[in-house]
């Protein structure tokens, strides 16, 4: 960067003072250059991969664009289609809301429950912790393939075992009622990361709180309600927040499960996204199919703008409430 000429101080100033000032200014410039240098990767990255795309998305959402011919201005047509005509949008939104309202809380509660169980174990904590954590390591594509096989309605081990118990298992990924619960099960299986976070938080709950509660005659449930939960509530909030953010981008599992569960060859796969009956058509899946299957990039951009509005609202809400956990945790760590 070019250095601006240092403004001359008043003549009256004695030489040494001026030199000191100059030195200080020089130091300040060097500091600024240093900051700029350190920040430069992010500055470039943020501009090219975030700032510019946002502006570009807003523009493209007002055009018809397929990458082959230049964007053609269509005004608000894409938004009209989005809000009034596209009957796939509402199922996609509903499915995504389902994830937030049902799958996320289930996962958080499950992770919490498993972590709680672990804190009570007297033996083999390390072993159990490893067992519970392992599924979280399975790559999503692999885990989903595994689950589609395990939950095959006819020959999958789960339904075979249920059959031996005299229960006719559900159709799982092949039923619109069960496909989302199946995905939720898959999510609960891979809950290891959350579980570790909860475990660390639970271990951190000060012992004396329990002891004083015990003196007050609190039972196990009361201790959970009045000591454990309040103490680790920031962690629960964190888990919910992460879960909600992840729901907004839920893609891989839905894509793989739908395309594999139909049992149809890839040539039919245009039909497969959302299988069965659009029950696994989540908002990102629909956006992908409009943008990168049909190359309705203008329309996909309009969908992206809607997603931006929703995500921004959620993010701002989180940021407002997060001063609790983002800024304080750093200072007050163990």
């Amino acid at each position: 960067m070019s250095s601006t000429p240092v403004v001359e101080g008043p003549r009256a100033l004695a030489g040494p003072v001026r030199d000191r000032r100059r030195a200080r200014r020089k130091a300040a410039w060097r500091r600024r250059a240093l900051v700029l240098g350190l920040m430069s990767p992010w500055l470039v990255g943020f501009t090219v991969f975030f700032g510019y795309p946002l502006v570009s998305s807003a523009y493209l959402s007002l055009t018809h664009y397929d990458l082959l011919s230049p964007p053609r201005w269509v005004g608000l047509a894409n938004y009209r289609f989005l809000f009034q005509q596209d009957q796939q949008v509402w199922p996609a939104v509903k499915n995504t809301l389902w994830l937030m309202a049902i799958a996320v809380p289930l996962q958080v509660m499950f992770a919490f429950g498993v972590a709680l169980l672990l804190t009570r174990a007297r033996r083999g904590v390390g072993f159990f912790r490893t067992v519970f954590y392992l599924p979280a390591l399975a790559p999503p594509v692999a885990a989903t393939l595994g689950f589609v096989y395990l939950l095959n309605p006819a020959t999958g081990p789960v339904n075979v075992i249920l059959g031996h118990l005299g229960i006719e298992g559900p159709l799982w990924f092949n039923s619109p009622t069960w496909s989302k619960p199946s995905l939720a099960l898959l999510g609960m299986w891979g809950v290891g990361n959350l579980m570790i976070i909860f475990l660390a938080a639970l271990i951190d709950v000060p012992r004396h709180l329990y002891e004083s509660a015990l003196i007050d005659g609190a039972g196990p449930l009361q201790r959970l309600r009045w000591v454990t939960l309040p103490t680790i509530s920031p962690v629960i909030l964190f888990a919910v927040v992460i879960g909600v953010i992840e729901s907004l981008q839920y893609f891989t599992q839905a894509y793989v499960a739908a395309s594999v569960a139909t049992g149809q060859a890839a040539s039919e796969s245009a039909v497969n996204l959302g299988y069965p009956e659009n029950s696994t058509l989540f908002y990102p899946v629909l956006l992908y199919s409009q943008g990168f299957r049909y190359f309705n990039m203008g329309y996909a951009s309009a969908m992206a703008m809607l997603l931006l509005a929703v995500a921004l609202t959620i993010t701002l809400l989180i940021l407002r409430s997060s001063r609790l956990w983002v800024f304080y945790q750093g200072a007050g760590r163990r």
Binding site: I245, Y255, V260, S301
Partner: protein
């Protein structure tokens, strides 16, 4: 009943819930392993135990698809991206945590926003950009952005740098070190666990990534990663279930091995994201 036996049974009863949960967590792995050893006909039947054990399935997988090619591509992606993230995010995190400058907090908020917004929001223009650069079809669109800072890693590292007491830096300053020297000699050393966690997460993210490769490399099978290749097993090639499960296991194996080698880094890293973050 002998007292030892009794003690054992009590321990089992005491942990019965845990044991039941552990069985449920392990069962999918067990069934995947069993299926990977079956014949195809058996995989399509309701029998659960392989008969006979068909160990050849694991070798067979390598004939159904260019697994080595996929593995190589995955490694290229994951290794380069991890290097990129470390090289670009550490300085940014340092500037955001240890240097005082105007607008720092505002920039940090921007980092948070970038971290929280779904990547689908920007995906269309970014794709257009890479297609104009004639890079779609290659691994570069997946790798390049990592050299320009990753919001999550910046956030994580920044949080960790904040916790390092100022005295260490001061001591180095007294010794006459410049800021860069302080970053390299003091912070990198003290922040090793956080850096290891960031590297681990980035590596795993790339190893598992499906959307990125699907978007950018799917039209060129010679650039497919393991995720993408495996997902096409059932749909394009209609590979039999037994082989698919064998491939699934092979795909999981490296991560699980990595986990046992670096268990501490894993657990510390995860804890870092949650509690300390």
């Amino acid at each position: 009943m002998s007292p030892r036996r009794k003690k054992f049974l009590i321990a089992v009863a005491d942990h019965s819930l845990l044991i039941a949960a552990a069985i449920m967590f392990l069962a999918p792995f067990v069934f995947i392993v069993l299926t990977s050893l079956m014949t195809n006909n058996q995989a399509l039947s309701s029998k659960l135990w392989p008969d006979p054990f068909q160990w050849g399935n694991f070798a067979e997988v390598f004939h159904t698809a260019p697994i080595w090619r996929y593995a190589l591509n995955t490694s290229i992606y994951a290794v380069l991206a991890t290097i990129g993230v470390l090289v670009s995010s550490i300085p940014v995190a340092y500037a955001l945590s240890r240097l005082r400058w105007r607008g720092r907090d505002a920039v940090f908020v921007l980092v948070l926003v970038a971290m929280m917004l779904p990547f689908q929001v920007t995906v269309v223009p970014v794709y257009v950009l890479f297609s104009k650069l004639h890079l779609v079809g290659s691994l570069w669109p997946l790798i390049i952005p990592n050299f320009l800072g990753d919001a999550f890693s910046i956030f994580l590292l920044r949080q960790f740098f904040m916790t390092i007491p100022e005295e260490y830096a001061d001591a180095a300053r007294v010794d006459g070190c410049g800021e860069l020297r302080i970053l390299v000699s003091v912070f990198l050393r003290l922040a090793k666990p956080a850096i290891a966690a960031v590297a681990l997460f980035e590596f795993l993210f790339c190893f598992n990534d499906f959307f990125g490769p699907l978007l950018y490399t799917s039209e060129d099978p010679s650039n497919w990663t393991l995720s993408l290749g495996l997902a096409q097993f059932r749909t394009i090639y209609q590979v039999q279930w037994n082989l698919t499960m064998a491939a699934t296991l092979l795909f999981m194996a490296p991560v699980i091995v990595l986990f046992f080698l670096a268990q501490r880094a894993f657990v510390e890293g995860v804890t870092l994201t949650g509690v300390k973050g």
